[in-house]
């Protein structure tokens, strides 16, 4: 499995040690390392955004300056140029990273909580629980994803919380299917029978016996899904249905520039590069983790 964790209760900080050990696992795959490096870069940018010497991302300075140009009074350099409203593109990119990582993370987390709960119950309980939950999942999966996003968000409005809700609607069914499949396989294992014989409750068995043993494939899927969610958030931003302006959003940056793109190609290309590289990071990490887990 991707993360080979034993339960060492003796260690002082078991969680931290486990995290470090699983990072060490990454060294087995250069692909995973490359993905982790890209992600680390964007994470660092997102965390350090308030500390970096950046212009205010929403402040109009001088419109349509090309990359590497110096401001009229000679005090500031626009490393990546400015957009059609004169805002610093580099600053908007970095603050945009912060926004997309926070909300994509929260949305993926929400989708996972719902998807895992649905999958555990459907897989472990079976019977009617499974029939009903699987039908709900099939129903939601029968929508082309973007159609579901557009219909839900135009109906309930584009606020951060509603976007988390829409991502949960769109992603939880797929997560549920994966968890359900894993649980159907795991529930016949001896340790589950042993737990049942001990008289453990269903909730304990699902959360303590089944879930931790399903984490390998789920970790790979979580990386992929962070990538999908990043794409979804940026695409919604591009369609004008994303996180509300004026705070920077990579997708919205492209949409704002597009009509005047001939004069500010850089304000379109850099956000496109940013979103692609972040998604690439998630995809490489997922691919590397899968490779490592198959090798074990």
């Amino acid at each position: 499995m991707a993360v080979r964790g034993r339960r060492d209760r003796g260690e002082a900080v078991p969680l931290l040690a486990a995290a470090l050990r699983s990072l060490g696992v990454l060294r087995e795959s250069p692909v995973a390392m490359a993905g982790a490096a890209i992600l680390f870069f964007w994470l660092a940018m997102a965390v350090l955004a308030p500390l970096l010497p950046l212009a205010d991302p929403n402040l109009p300075l001088e419109p349509l300056r090309p990359p590497l140009s110096v401001s009229a009074d000679g005090t500031a350099t626009f490393w990546l140029g400015t957009d059609i409203k004169g805002r610093d593109v580099l600053s908007r990119l970095i603050w945009g990273a912060r926004r997309v990582l926070v909300w994509a993370g929260l949305a993926t987390l929400a989708a996972y909580l719902v998807g895992i709960a649905m999958g555990l119950v459907a897989g472990y309980r079976g019977g009617w629980w499974d029939e009903i939950l699987s039908f709900v999942a099939n129903l939601l999966l029968s929508f082309p994803v973007m159609v579901l996003y557009i219909v839900v968000i135009t109906r309930i409005g584009a606020s951060p919380l509603n976007i988390v809700l829409a991502v949960t609607f769109a992603s939880a069914p797929a997560i549920m299917r994966i968890v359900r499949g894993l649980v159907l396989d795991l529930r016949t294992r001896d340790y589950v029978l042993a737990a049942r014989a001990r008289g453990e409750g269903a909730l304990w068995i699902m959360l303590v016996e089944l879930l931790p043993n399903a984490r390998g494939p789920l970790l790979v899927d979580a990386c992929l899904r962070m990538g999908y969610t990043t794409i979804a958030l940026a695409t919604l931003g591009f369609l004008g249905l994303g996180l509300p302006p004026p705070d920077p959003d990579w997708g919205a940056m492209i949409a704002e520039t597009q009509p005047m793109g001939a004069f500010a190609g850089h304000a379109m290309v850099f956000p496109a590069l940013a979103v692609s590289s972040l998604v690439l990071g998630f995809n490489l990490l997922a691919d590397g983790l899968r490779e490592i887990s198959l090798r074990d």
Binding site: N138, L139, S142, F143, P144, V145, M146, V147, I150, V151, T154, R155, G227, I231, A234, T235, F238, L239, G240, G251, I254, A255, Q258, G261, A262, G265, M268, V269, P271, A272, L273, V275, S276, S277, V279, L280, F282, N283, L284, D287
Partner: protein, 314 residues
């Protein structure tokens, strides 16, 4: 076989029924809001009440739903609020435009991804194999609107070879189709190629291929006569299911390039709150998705000899 097809068909009809009910519930259970949308924000409460009475909105919810379904099945989806025209008159030309786009995408993507996938899967770990997995991770990481931005920056703003919008206002122009098709093929081919590669690689390790090689068949006959037939079953379902993903991508691409297709229509309808148009477009989109699922399920069973014979025998 027939039983399976019928069961799948039944599941498809059930999903469509539930989706239609949910849509109707979400968009038309608040009658006054519907009247407000149709008559405009400045209509008085009295006008709205009169309109509701005249249009039969004061009948029970289920009766209205039944009538809506019956009308929809006859192809009557009501009047678009934004375009002031029957929804069906808007829908079909837009669907035809999107069909042109999707048809071109499939015509390019299928040969490209199957060829690459088969060549890579024939020799696992070869240079081509590693190149393909690298390429496909890269292209599937670039969302449609981002690759559209790259391609437009390069071919429209820098080189000035191609037009940056595809609204076809001056009649049909194939040059306006190049970029939308390229964006969709770029995003979609990697996944199908990877699936083909995995399927081909699996078949190549199977005993019957080893037998064919050991009995001295030339390599091209092993591949063409033995491996391909089974290696292409899994990609078939992936390609059919790709229709679902393509629909999502089509919305973004049509909005980006102002192409007058179905995806852009759905987007405009949703942004404007054009209730009847949203209902019709969503139903069409869900139908395409569910029907492709049905096709892939039935097709997979038809193509896969293991399932086919197991069913006929038992």
């Amino acid at each position: 076989m027939l039983k399976l097809a019928l069961r799948r068909f039944g599941a498809m009809v059930l999903i469509m029924a539930v989706v239609s009910f949910l849509l109707f519930l979400i968009f038309e259970s608040d009658k006054l809001a519907v009247a407000g949308k149709v008559l405009g924000p400045y209509s008085s409460l009295e006008q709205r009440e009169l309109w509701l009475e005249k249009e039969g909105y004061n009948r029970p919810f289920l009766v209205r739903y039944g009538e809506w379904v019956a009308d929809a099945l006859r192809g009557d989806f009501g009047q678009s609020i934004r375009f002031k025209a029957p929804v069906s008159d808007l829908l079909w030309p837009r669907l035809a435009n999107t069909a042109i786009l999707a048809g071109l995408v499939f015509a390019l993507m299928i040969p490209l991804s199957l060829t690459l996938g088969v060549l890579a899967g024939m020799r696992e770990g070869s240079l081509l194999d590693r190149l393909l997995s690298f390429l496909s991770i890269g292209t599937t990481s670039i969302p449609e609107f981002a690759s559209a931005a790259f391609l437009v920056a390069l071919f429209v703003f820098e080189l000035r070879w191609l037009p940056g919008t595809s609204s076809m206002t001056g009649g049909f122009d194939w040059r306006q189709l190049v970029l939308p098709v390229a964006v969709l093929v770029l995003y979609d081919f990697g996944y199908v190629a990877r699936m083909t590669r995995a399927s081909m690689a699996e078949v190549m390790t199977s005993p019957y291929i080893r037998t064919a090689v050991l009995k001295g068949l030339p390599r091209h006959r092993v591949i063409l006569g033995h491996a391909l037939r089974n290696a292409l079953i899994a990609p078939f379902t992936v390609i059919v299911l790709q229709l679902n993903w393509l629909l999502s991508g089509v919305i973004v691409v049509e909005v980006f390039f102002a192409y007058k297709g179905f995806g852009a229509l759905l987007y405009e309808a949703a942004m404007f709150g054009d209730i009847y148009l949203i209902e019709a477009c969503t139903m069409v989109a869900v139908f395409v998705a569910v029907f492709s699922q049905f096709l892939s399920d039935v097709g997979y069973t038809l193509l896969n000899p293991r399932i086919r014979f197991a069913r006929e025998g038992g």
